[in-house]
Symmetry: C2
Subunit: 365 residues, 2 copies
């Protein structure tokens, strides 16, 4: 049997509480289904900084590189707002993405039927929404050099960041988008700002070439990123798969998540390229919500995004499609039963805490 | 009497149709109120490229620099999708912004009561919405160098754009935001990605310093731009003035505009620094909507955004506050009367074309 070594990085804020529910789930799967997961734990973000002065230690980084999949909670909080830029909590996440070469970030924005009414958008605009944002995750302005603040004298400083994309980076991320579109509604919309950015011109060109060369069966549209943001808010159901760069993907996927009215529910997967020999991809699974320090430690955080991230892990890292389907169905079922954590509560429903929600999902699984 | 020389750049698509309504309005003001406007016209965008191979000619650029205010329609369309990057329609607008040093882009997102129901957001989320996005317009990734595509050989290219902000640029745009906040709800939210971008770190720092030094009476919040986008969609009424950089401002102001359900209604002003001697600011006024080539020439475009842009012109360039108020009231009045262009039509209202809408507003003025 292939190894199933998980590395758990719960991080800060509500990360550990959400991760605790996944740990129970893993134990249950090992016990009842003999799934054979092993799970080691490490530190990332503010808690790693507190422990050893870096947002992730080299030792934990090495474990992440060796693991079959990394489960990641959340990082950051006001406690670390003033730590040096290089060791801020986010640096741990960015190092994981970069060193593991997790270039493909998959962010589904799904509107759970039970929650359609809780969106700030009209119900008919979001009901049944199912889009997938494929965000480039190891390039662009996040990592381009120079990236620095220069002291110009006279009280003037200059802040510089560099947006860089090479052909191969655009090619591989658009390949992922086209492949995934084929398993869905066969429609990709690529977003950039080619009217202003040279990287946008190249992005547009390479996506079109990749399409023509290998995926001409898929419907491809191009949209300017600002217009794309508007269209997401106006009528999101026009989209199936959206492919875009690191920074636009950051903005657009958060907006898409918010449309669904259930940001506490949305998972993500960050994948590397398949290994030439083993065909295995390095992978990290992470809820879209952040560390939510204001509600941390109160037992009220919604663990669904973290559990749904584990479902993506089952699907993409271990090919356990039946189990992934079953876990996603269990989540939908507890929602249908009316169970709600505080963030998604509405009148007439039953408010539950983090552990009750986790237990209910495990019981249905 | 101070000069009132307008330079009109109607541009492409629906630009000329919308501008025609403003021309009627200017004529009416001259006739009936003796307002004393002079108006010259020039070419920008695709039509300028067709006429003389540049997105704006040097002669027209000189006229824009001399004018008391520029009124701008819209640029671009599929006809010019393949023209070289340097002379694409948008280059005309970008040159105007840069050469006139129009660093402050004011984009109000107002939800007209008569249209609250036509937003894709729930009515209670947008009803009464009145926020002002102050976008930096002459810096950032739009203009930073290097900005190029390099051929790396082996079929590989590299697209590069550079995000650059200097202290003084952040200082002056945040000054504009704080000043405007004092005339409104006294609340500024600054948005950047300081957790990823060095320019964001500097942005955050300089906005805070400017606040402490000169505007500590104004409430200031900082928000990460991705979280800001989410909050705009979740509960936009939490904002009063938002100040942000060129690229985030492009995305966020379009999203804010879409929230109101009336993108065809929203104006913008782009202002330079006051001249040391004359105290006059260079200024360009422009609807937020684009050239909408699909409906151009059909007489159905909504002229309200262009007319509302002229109202901003009256207010900011000529201190004609009473006239601006009256013009804005006239717009609201025709909407209350049930007149609607196609883009904002809903059952029970009266559908009208571009000229009828313009005439109705002028009649109420
Ligand atoms: C935490 C932060 C560095 C990160 C990002 O900007 O990518 C987050 O917003 C995300 O979207 O995963
Ligand atoms: C036309 C384009 C260059 C422009 C921009 O990106 O600034 C437009 O989207 C805007 O917001 O005014």
């Amino acid at each position: 049997m292939a190894s199933k070594n998980l590395f758990l990085l719960a991080g800060d804020g509500i990360g550990p509480e959400a991760m605790a529910e996944v740990k129970k789930l893993i134990a249950a799967m090992n016990d009842k289904l003999g799934s054979g997961f092993t799970a080691e734990e490490g530190l990332v973000g503010g808690c790693a900084y507190d422990a050893h002065g870096a947002a992730i230690s080299d030792a934990d980084m090495a474990k992440a590189m060796m693991a079959d999949a990394v489960l990641f909670g959340a990082v950051g909080g006001p406690k670390w707002d003033k730590v040096p830029y290089e060791v801020r909590p986010e640096a741990g996440l960015l190092r994981l993405r970069k060193d593991m070469e997790l270039f493909a970030n998959l962010r589904p924005a799904i509107c759970y039927p039970a929650l359609a009414a809780s969106s700030s958008l009209k119900q008919d605009v979001v009901e049944g929404l199912d889009i997938l944002i494929v965000r480039e995750l190891t390039g662009g302005v996040y990592f381009g050099e120079p990236k620095q603040i220069i002291d110009l004298g006279n009280g003037q400083k200059r802040g510089i960041d560099t947006q860089v994309y090479d052909t191969f980076e655009i090619e591989r991320i658009s390949g992922v988008a086209f492949e995934l579109a084929r398993t869905r509604k066969n429609h990709v919309t690529s977003m950039e700002k080619r009217n202003v950015m040279k990287s946008g011109v190249l992005w547009n060109e390479v996506v079109s070439q990749t399409h023509q060369a290998r995926y001409s069966d898929v419907k491809l549209d191009h949209m300017l990123a600002d217009a794309g943001g508007m269209q997401l808010v106006r009528w999101p159901k026009q989209f199936d798969v959206i492919v875009t760069d690191n920074l636009f993907g950051d903005m657009l996927s958060d907006i898409a998540a918010m449309l669904t009215g259930s940001i506490g529910m949305l998972p993500s997967a960050s994948l590397g390229a398949p290994d030439v020999k083993t065909k295995k991809r390095k992978a990290l699974y992470e809820p879209v919500h952040g560390s939510a320090p204001d509600i941390a430690g109160k037992g009220i955080a919604n663990p669904i995004a973290m559990i749904a991230s584990f479902a993506m892990c089952l699907r993409y890292s271990f090919g356990m499609v039946a189990e992934a389907d079953k876990l996603e169905a269990a989540i939908a079922a507890v929602l249908d039963d009316g169970l709600r954590t505080k963030d998604i509560f509405s009148a007439g429903m039953k408010e539950v805490g983090t552990t009750e929600m986790g237990d209910a999902i495990i019981a249905k699984f």
